[in-house]
Structure formats: C-alpha cells, structure tokens
Symmetry: C2
Subunit: 373 residues, 2 copies
C-alpha cells in the first residue's frame, strides 16, 4: 500500500513519493534526452541536475526552443519570509544562480512578505519585515548578478503588483483555491487572495517591458499548486504560460520525511548558524544510517540511503568522485557514522563561512536589487 | 405580508423597507434628540437631515461626544468607478461636503477602482481608469476643500493600502463574507478579498498620523455590510471603530423600486447630461403620480408619494416652503404632472449647469487632491 504524504505550499508531511507527485501534479520528469539538451547549451550539468534533485518540469523544452530561437526567458523565484534562511531554501537559489549565469538571463526574485503573515496566527508584519531584510541578505549572498536581478517585495511594491494581481484574481474562484490548496470556509480572505499575488512576477516583466517574454520558474515542488492554477490564467491574459523546473526537498535533519522547516529549530541548519552550532546540530540530530556498534558497522556497512549526512552531501558535495567514494566507503563499513558526519560538518561550515562573508557584504548592496515603485 | 427586497453593496432591488433595514442591519434611526444635538453644533440642519434622507447611523452620538471634547473626526466616503456619475451618487457627496464645512474636518475619498472590475464580467481596468478620472471631476465639482480632502485610488495607492488591508483580511474568513455579501464558491478571489480594501480608509489616516482619530463614514445604506463586517476588525487592530451615517437611495426614474443604476441609462440622469437630455429623460421616463386625464387630475389630485418628479424634488429642492407648496398644489390637483416635471427639469438643469462648470475647472485641480504613494 502506498504511504500517505501531503505536499501543498503550506504543508509538506509524510514520506514524499516523487514518482506519484509527478502524476498527481501533472508535471513531467526530467529525462535523459532533456538533460542532454540542456548540456548542449550549458556545457556541463549542475550537480542538482546530474543527481535528479531538480527532477521535474513544465514546458522546459519550449523554453529551450525559444532560447535557441533567440527569444530569451527571464527567471522568477521567491521566498516567503517567516524566519531565517535554512539550507533547504538555498537549494533552488543556488540552481537559479547557475541558470542565470549559464543562460545570461534576468531574474525577478519575489519576497511575498504577506504570505506567512496571513497563514501563521502569531506572525506579525513587523516580524515579516525583519525576515524580509534577513532573507534578502541571503539571496544576495548566493551571488546573483545585481545588474540582472530585481527584488519584488509584495507590500512595498504593491503599486506595481496589486493591479496585475486583480487581473489574475478575477479568473480564479473559491472552488479553485479550495481544490488546489485545501482551503476552507474558515480560511481568511487574505490567504484566499494570495495566490494571485504569487502569479504576478510570472508576467509583470512582460507588462513593464510591453512585450511578451517567456518565464522560467525554478522552485521546490510544493509551490507547484500556485503555478498549476495560474498558468492557464496568465495564458488567458495574453502572456506566455510560465514554464517551471522543480526540485526535491532537502530532508530534515531527523529523517527523510517531509522537508526542513524554518520554524522548527532542530530540523534545520540556518545560514546564520556558527561553526559550533552546525557541528552540534549535525552530531546530535542528523539521522544516521550507521549500525549500533562499530564492530557491526564494520561488518555490515552503513545505509547511505537512510543516512541524512550522506543525503545532505548528495546535495552539497559537488565533486562526483568524492561523493561516490564516500558512498562506497560508508556502505562497505570503512567509513563510520561519526566520520561521515565530520565530512558533512566540514563541508557545511566551509559553505557557510563563504556565505556569511557574502552576507555581510550584502548589507551594502541592497539598493542595487530593490526596485522602487 | 412584507414585500421582498435585497440590499447588498452589489445588488439593490425590490421596494426597500427602510424600517426593516434598520433592524436587519442593526443600525440606529436618526431621531429627534439626535437631530437637535447636531443642530446645536451646526446651527442649521441640512435638508437631507430634515427630510430623513440621511435616516440611520452607527455611533454618531459617540462622534459628537468626541467632537465636543475637542477630538475631531475625519470623514471617509467613496465611489467605485464603473460608469458616469449620476444624481444618486451626488446625494452622499453633497451631504459629506456639508459635514466637512460645518465641522471643519478632513475627508478621505476612496476610489476603489478594482471593485466593479472584479464584479462585472465585461468591465476592464482600462474602463475603470477612465471612469476614475471622470468621477474624480464630479467629486471635486461638489466643492470639497482641496486643503482638507485627499483621494485614495486603490490600484494607484496600493503601496499605502495593501499592507493595511492584509491586517483586516487576516481577521475575516470566507464564511463571514459569504454571510455579509451573499458570495459563494464561484465568487472570484478578488471580490472575496475586496472588503478588506474598503475597510482601509477607516483607519489609514490614524496609521499615517501615528495617532488614533475617530472616523465618520457618510454613505448610502447598501454599503453598510462592508462596515458591519470591518468595524469590529478595525477595533481589534487598536483603532476606533468607524462610525457611520446612512442615506436612502434616490429612486430610479421609472419608480421607487431599488436605486438608480449607473449601468442602466434610462433609470438615471448623469452629471454630464445636457439640458435637452435631462428634459427628455424626465418627461419620458419619470414615473408619474398624476391621473389619466387632466379632468380627473383636477378632481382627484396627484399622488406625490408615488411621483418620481416630486420624490426627486424632495432630495434637491432645498427650500422647504417651496417644496410644501408644490406638495399641496400637486395633491390638490392644481399642479399638473407635466408642470411638476417642468419644475424638476428646471431645478436639475440649474444644478447641473453649475456642476458642469465646476467640473471643467476640476480638470486643473486634480493634483491638489490625488495623493502620491
């Protein structure tokens, strides 16, 4: 019997079956021929593509068709501020940065600072304002090109966005959002309306440029219901339906169920965590695929498929050879669980050291990214 | 048996029973002692008060208490652009102008240019933009003090309004708007959210001034469901609950059912109609309370209570003595239906002549009223 799991923009729980998700959401698997096609343009494949972390898409072949005809797309992704950025958030951003570089395209990065305020009883707009600032630093730290990247903050850029959201909202009814997001009669009218705001960056650049520009949205797969709902609407408004490319969730430290949650301290490592905290969290909480005793581990070997330290290295160790060696050493029992965790701690702390340095510099770069209006 | 009628912000039909409305909406009648209290401050009573056209209120005594303590209120009213302004729209504006003058207070005038776009299938945002401009000219023509009057246009002032609307929206759910406005699962998510935007001007001046200021909303009674819903919410946000004062509808030319509709040409006279059109509409369409033949009319007399020309004079002939004379002359049969219509035509054309002159001047005054931001 299939295990139960839930994937909506506001709730991811259970053991996610990505094969089933592909069918249920009506997205397409990224297969060999498509990877080959991307590689022909980019010269190399990002590890997230090689390792099937970005695993599904909508209309990606069409985006490449247009690109090859000289009709460049723009990228759109985002972050709903409700807490500090964790490593799971970085996954689509790192990939988006790679796409920006390889295809030399513009990025519109949305900060829907109302979404989590509307969804979470105790979160205030003061909180989301603070986290918008903190999250912006993290986005900049990933290394986006300031000349080709614009930040859209829903409450601050409402003069640009609200009018466009209305055009979307007129074509979506309550039954639609009930079905797509599991909302009900007790849902507040803000969260009911919200999906219209999330649709806007998919066509706002076309509105502003007064010409139709293809849009590609890299995102974690839980956001798909928004775009499933708004794709057709955006099409009816006379713009290209946005294409998308979807990634899996970085598993929580405790195990592979669901995704990391920014609101549950122990399941996540934050970009602002220091070296000691990183080491402590991984050593203490990262679910191990190792055996009960060293002797047993040497004899039977670890189980990388169940081991969170290994799973995380699968996301963040870009060197395939190193990763394969770790896999075999762990599986054969040569590498102990504590040693594997030490490799991960080292990897993450190196990443974060660089990230935190960039994050400090970002404080002076904000003006280059934020749009007025 | 009571006749059926409907009064919601988007549908007024049937013979409105204002006594029943007072009970159903939970508003209060404006009675003798309250009129006396107003007169003590204003020196005189506006005909709309003397004639019970503004007939109900919420918390008006509290507004006067605060006023007498030196805690001045601000006024808030509005117009959702979907067509040209007709005489029915002018009724609350004329009264609001009188209040502004007599109490020397500020007015925030909202143009929710999304409301009718969301509600009417074929209305575009281009249409509502055009009518926002046209309607603004009419509002200015009424004679508001440019130093004390600010226009809020929802799509153009969204940077000021959207964030505040979110605070309201978080506290209203789908069940609430279903009950208040008769929305259903097929209602679009824009119109579901909209009431939050209509609540904003009731406390935005307090937000901007960083102090709590009482708010009085003069409006036609069909708008009450919005404020019934948002009053408590605004209170919970820490601002004064808005008070309100409600007027009856100027009846449609064809008869006293429902209200004038800007979208039904024959039921209304527009502020842009010329003298000939006014005469033609009144002569052709105004429902008459006169008799079938002149001889019968002289013998039995007319019925002013059923006569639209008389009903309209009850709104627009400010001189009580003149109005009483017309009433008796018509009821006695001395004044014929055609003669009564001629009096109304003259009255309306004089009003509109002055209005249209002001409307032309208004084109150069827009900048004084529109707020940036």
């Amino acid at each position: 019997m299939a295990k139960e799991f839930i994937v909506t923009p506001w709730n991811v729980s259970g053991d996610v079956d990505y094969k089933r998700l592909i069918n249920e959401f009506g997205i397409k698997e990224i297969d060999g021929p498509l990877l080959k096609r991307i590689k022909k343009i980019t010269g190399e494949l990002h590890p997230f593509l090689r390792r099937n972390i970005f695993f599904a898409h909508r209309d990606l072949n069409w985006i490449l068709d247009e690109y090859e005809k000289g009709n460049k797309f723009f990228l759109y992704t985002g972050r709903a501020p409700s807490g500090h950025t964790h490593l799971g958030h970085l996954v689509p951003w790192i990939f988006t940065k790679w796409i920006q570089e390889k295809f030399n395209v513009n990025l519109w990065f949305q900060f829907p600072d109302e979404e989590k305020f509307l969804f979470k009883e105790n979160l205030t707009l003061k909180d989301t304002e603070k986290y918008t600032y903190e999250n912006m630093l993290d986005v900049i730290a990933v290394g986006f090109d300031p000349k080709k990247t614009k930040f859209l903050i829903d409450t601050k850029n409402a003069n640009l966005m609200y009018k466009e959201a209305l055009k979307v909202a007129k074509k979506i009814n309550f039954s639609n959002v009930k079905a797509a997001f599991g909302l009900n009669n007790e849902s507040n009218i803000g969260i009911i309306f919200y999906t219209a705001m999330q649709a806007v960056p998919a066509f706002l650049p076309s509105v502003l440029a007064k010409k139709n520009i293809p849009c590609l949205i890299p995102h974690a797969v839980d956001q798909d219901p928004h775009f499933r709902l708004s794709r057709d609407v955006v099409g009816k408004l006379g713009y290209y339906k946005p294409a998308s490319i979807q990634c899996r969730f970085l598993p929580a430290l405790q195990g592979s169920s669901g995704k990391m949650s920014a609101s549950m301290e122990k399941t996540a490592i934050y970009t602002v965590d220091n070296e000691k905290i990183v080491a402590k969290k991984i050593n203490k909480y990262a679910f191990s695929g190792g055996r009960d005793t060293i002797e047993e581990h040497r004899r039977l070997g670890g189980i990388p498929e169940k081991d969170i330290a290994y799973q995380w290295l699968n996301f963040f160790e870009e060197d395939d050879k190193k990763l394969v060696k770790i896999y075999h050493d762990y599986k054969s029992g040569k590498l102990l669980s504590g040693e594997l965790k030490a490799i991960l701690i080292d990897k993450i702390n190196n990443m974060l050291k660089k990230h935190q340095k960039n994050r400090e510099k970002a404080k002076k770069q904000l003006d280059k990214f934020i749009i007025k209006g």
